[in-house]
Structure formats: C-alpha cells, structure tokens
C-alpha cells in the first residue's frame, strides 16, 4: 500500500474486469468496467441487473451517473 494511494487507483486497476455496482436506489448491477471519470460516472459492458445472485435483466452497454452510485467492487 503506497503512501500516495488514491481511491481512483482501484477503479483504474478494475478496468476491463467485471465489477459489482451498488446504487442509491438499492439496485445492483454487474458488468465489465469500460470507463469512469472524476464524477464516478461509469460505463459497463455486458451489464446485468442482479438480485440475490440472480439476473433480473440484461442491460448490455450502460452509462451510470456517478451521483447514483454507492460503491463499486471488483468481483473475483
């Protein structure tokens, strides 16, 4: 862990990998992280809305507005 670690480092290292995104409205979305910016606006590829591990619906490519996001977690 570097002294100068920044929160966006985790998102940078997650690019191209599948992440779990939790939204303020309680929804959970998974998908491959394609891009993010300083507002934490993100785009995902092959995105799916999930509940309890089940796929509720497939979203394909999706832009998610940063201010609706609670957390982003790279999945293993």
């Amino acid at each position: 862990m570097s002294e100068n670690a920044r929160p966006l480092d985790l998102l940078n290292s997650a690019k191209g990998k599948v992440v779990l995104v939790e939204l303020k409205n309680g929804h959970a979305i998974t998908g491959k992280l394609i891009a993010f910016d300083v507002h934490i606006n993100i785009t995902l590829e092959s995105a799916e809305e999930k509940r309890d591990g089940e796929t509720l619906r497939k979203l394909g490519n999706v832009f998610i507005r940063g201010d609706t996001i609670v957390m982003i977690s790279p999945t293993i």
Copy 2:
C-alpha cells in the same frame, strides 16, 4: 477498449439511436438520443414512458435534467 476510454464515449456513440433512460423517480423513458452535455442533461426524440415493456404515454421531444438520471442504455 482504449486505455483512455471515457464514460461519455458511450453516449456519443449512442447519438441518433434509441436509448433506455432510467430516472431516480423510478420512471423509464425510451427515445432517440439527440443531445447530451456534461451535466448529462439530455434530449430525446419520439420519447415514450415505459413500464414492463408497455408504453404508458408518448412524450415526443423531451428535455431530461441530468441530475434525475440513474442510467442510460443504448437498446439493441
């Protein structure tokens, strides 16, 4: 996937195509994406409010304020 991909790239490539827009109030709107700005304010053409795949009402041209948007997904 470019190293320098930005979230707005997805919106740029969706211009002129039909997108699904989900709002913080739970509403879903579809329509042809005409324009967007850095606040994610957008305008749609031939917009329709949807629920469970059904058209609730036709909105025609519509301006949607960015801070009410959860996500924008180009439909196939």
Copy 3:
C-alpha cells in the same frame, strides 16, 4: 440532427410555445415557456397545474427552480 446538437437547443426552440414540465414532487405544470437559464430555472406564462389532463389550478406567471425539474416537453 447536428453532430453538435446540445440539450438546451430543444428549450430554445420551445420558447414562446406551451411546454409540459414534470417536477420531482410528482406535479405536472403546463404553460408558455418564456425563459430558461443554464440551471434550467424557467419561467412560464399562463401556467396551470395538471393531473390526468385536468387543470387542478391556474398559476399564471410562475418561476420554477431548475433543481426541482425532471423533464420539459414541448406539447404539440
């Protein structure tokens, strides 16, 4: 559709025409669009609050704060 279309273009072209404004509190207002600014603060003339196509009350001239607005749609 121009490459450089901006969301505010729709509001500009709607000036002087009747628009439907939907608010975050669920209210719907119609009226002639007189002015708007970058915050999407707007003023309407001959404004009316509507529900299911019925006029609930007449508001006359009204200033609406931009951050309470979900969408603005020019009516036909």
Copy 4:
C-alpha cells in the same frame, strides 16, 4: 417576449408585490417579495403560511433558503 428573456426577470418584476412560494416540504407561503439572489434565496414581508387558501400562521419578515423552493408565482 424578448429573445433574451431570463428567468430572474419575472422575480425582478415581482419585487414589492405579493408572491406565492411553494416549498419542497409541501408548504406554501405568501408575502411581499423584498429581495432575491442568484441562489433564489428570498426575503418576504408580511409572510403567511397557507393551506387551501386559509392562513395557518403569520410569519412576518422571513428569509427562505433558495434550495428549498419549488416555485414562485406573483399573485394577481
């Protein structure tokens, strides 16, 4: 209607007149508009809280923070 009309023009012309102010918490306040700024912070004189046309209570002079305001309408 001028090409360059701005939303704050309506508030300027309402100075010294009685306005109806609707708040995000659902309250309605009437009073003589004394001042406003770019945040739509306003001050009213002889303000009264209203419900269904009835006066709930008299507030006298009052400062209202702009971000709590939905709309401001000059009354006739």
Copy 5:
C-alpha cells in the same frame, strides 16, 4: 424597500435578535442570531427546540449547517 435589497440584509438586521429557524427535518429552533455566512450556516445563543410554542429542550449555543435550513424569521 431598496432596488438593491438583498436577502442577507434581513439576516444582518436580525443579528442580536431572537429568530425562529425551521429545518428540513421539520424541527423548529429559536435563539438569538449571533452569526451567519453565505452558506446560511448560522450560530444561535440560548437556542431552544420548539413544538407548538412549547420548549422541547434547551440547546444553549448551537451551530446549524445552512443546507438543513428552510427559513429564518425574526420574531417580534
């Protein structure tokens, strides 16, 4: 009423006097207004939380964050 009246003028003239402060969470606080800034952060002295004219509890000196405030009214 001056042409150049500003909303903060009312707060300036209320300094050192008892004001009623209504908060977004529905609480009402009275107290002597000691200071305010452009965010409408305020400090009160001898503050009391009120409901229906009754004192719920005494707060003494209190700092109130501006973005929680709906309105501030000098009491007579």
Copy 6:
C-alpha cells in the same frame, strides 16, 4: 457579540470540548471536538452515539462527513 462574528467562531471555541452533534439520519453523537473544516467535516474523540441521554454505543475516534450534520452544540 462582534459585528464580524462568523458561524465557525463557535466551532473554534468548542475545540477540545465535548459537543453534541445531530445528524440528518436522526442520530445524535457526543464527543470531544478535535478538528473541523469549511465543509463542516469534523473529527471527535471518545465519541458515543446517544438516544434520550443513554449511550447506545461507544465509537472512539470518528470522522463525520459535514453534509450529514444538522447541528453542533457545545455541551456545558
């Protein structure tokens, strides 16, 4: 009371003393005020969550994000 009193003066004078902090989620926290900044982010030492004068749990050192704070009151 100085003409130039500022709201942060109260927080400055409360440094090193026990304060009561009320949050937008309705929680009440007490603790020794160690630091604050212009966003009203604060840190407390020996913090405890309180309800009706009872200690719900001990938090020790805690950072509280400013935009979750309603008010801060030095206790006697």
Copy 7:
C-alpha cells in the same frame, strides 16, 4: 491536540488499519482503509458488510463514493 488539527488527519492516521464506515443507506462496512480523497471517496481492502457485529457478506476490495458516507471510525 494541535491548534491546526484537520479532520482528514484522522483518516491519514487510519490508513492501513481497519475502519468502520457507516453509509447514508444505513449499511455498515468494515475493511482496511487503503486510500481517500477530499471528497471522502475511499477504498477498502478485505471489506465486509456488517449488521449487529455479524458479517452479512464479504466484499473484498471496494470503492465507496464519498457522498454516501456518514462517518468513518478506526476500530481498535
């Protein structure tokens, strides 16, 4: 306690240690604090969602958006 103590000092000293993070949606997350920025965006390692001391689920590495955070407390 230094005169010039700043709230972020507590977060700096908590780097590399386990912290408890409470969110506006009521969730509690623990994990090793890896990084934070001025928005209080943070990243945690070995994060777990907790309720009443029980682990609800393991999150691994996680980015948490600052504006969803109520407080951050280093655990002993």
